[in-house]
Amino acid sequence: MDSMRSDSAMAVKILVAGGFGVGKTTLVGTVSEISPLRTEEALTEKSIGIDDTAFVQQKTTTTVAMDFGRITLKTGLSLYLFGTPGQDRFWFMWDELCQGALGAVILVDTRRLSDCFASIDYFERRGLPFIIAVNSFDGAQRHDPRDVRIALDLDNEVPIVVCDVRQRESAKEALITLVEHVLSAMSRRTA
């Protein structure tokens, strides 16, 4: 199609996943140059079997919010961050979000470790590279990343970083770790 072109501006996408209240929106807001925007998706026939609307007959659509932010890396190259919707019933949206994504940062709160299991399973199954970022909440007990790795039953290649998503440098570091991980995974594949 003539009006479709992909030459000048380039956009890449990173997902931010993890359980409810783990700091996804905060991470997006900390590094984004626009304040976190929210976008909504109407549930259509895709949600049949996922959304149980049997007892709410008048409700045929619902909305799900996801956060996103933008970072202009250089002229013509923008990075978009998408916070994945937290609830399990919105898995169908993850498939779309994954399309063309570089990888994912899975945020973990060590006090509620099991909240991130679903995200890890999902990205492992999709074969999308991810890293674990342990968000250091005030008052939460610090855990050695090695213990976190064992608790999450993670492959040795998956990087684990400890971060404070409220700190810009710390959030940046988590993103850089992910892209470096993607890069090294790629060189392993082509080697």
């Binding site: 009006s3 479709m4 072109r5 992909s6 030459d7 000048s8 501006a9 380039m10 956009a11 890449v12 996408k13 590094v31 626009i34 925007l37 929210r38 976008t39 909504e40 998706e41 109407a42 259509t44 659509t61 909305t63 996103f68 933008r70 970072i71 890396l73 250089k74 190259l77 923008s78 990075l79 978009y80 998408f82 779309e96 979000l97 399309q99 063309g100 994504a101 570089l102 999308l128 810009r168 940046k172 993103l175 850089i176 892209v179 470096e180 993607v182 890069l183 790629m186 060189s187």
Partner: protein, 124 residues
């Protein structure tokens, strides 16, 4: 006197018109698929008959004079992405917007782009 507790007014009451009314009931646009991070830009010259466009379409053309991603357009319009895709398809049919698809990173990973991303993040 305290106002009644369950009175929903304005935004709390939800949209007056059901979401897909603005697309004439269509949930999909035939032919075009808009990625969330595809960049939309208004075409340079607008034809004279833009008056026939609905208010949502005119808003999109106006906000996309400086380029915006599909996700940002949806957020600006406060409409679900599915609906915005249908509207964008209409605008594309009329030649009123130009679409730049995102770099196909996942399918054809490009080392140079990844290094650019890392450098860009370091420089923030």
């Amino acid at each position: 006197m305290e106002p009644p507790e369950h009175e929903w007014v304005d935004e709390a009451a939800g949209p007056v018109v059901r979401s897909y009314a603005v697309t004439g009931g269509r949930t999909q646009h035939t032919g075009s698929d808009f990625d969330l991070i595809a960049i939309i830009e208004s075409a340079d010259a607008l034809p004279a008959d833009t008056l026939v466009l609905g208010p949502e379409l005119i808003t999109i053309v106006e906000i996309c004079r400086s380029s915006l991603s599909v996700a940002e357009v949806a957020s600006e319009l406060d409409l679900p992405v599915g609906i915005v895709r249908v509207l964008l398809g209409d605008l594309l049919d009329h030649g009123l917007i130009v679409v730049r698809r995102p770099a196909p990173v996942a399918q054809f990973p490009n080392e140079r782009i990844l290094k650019d991303v890392i450098d860009g993040l370091h420089a923030l």
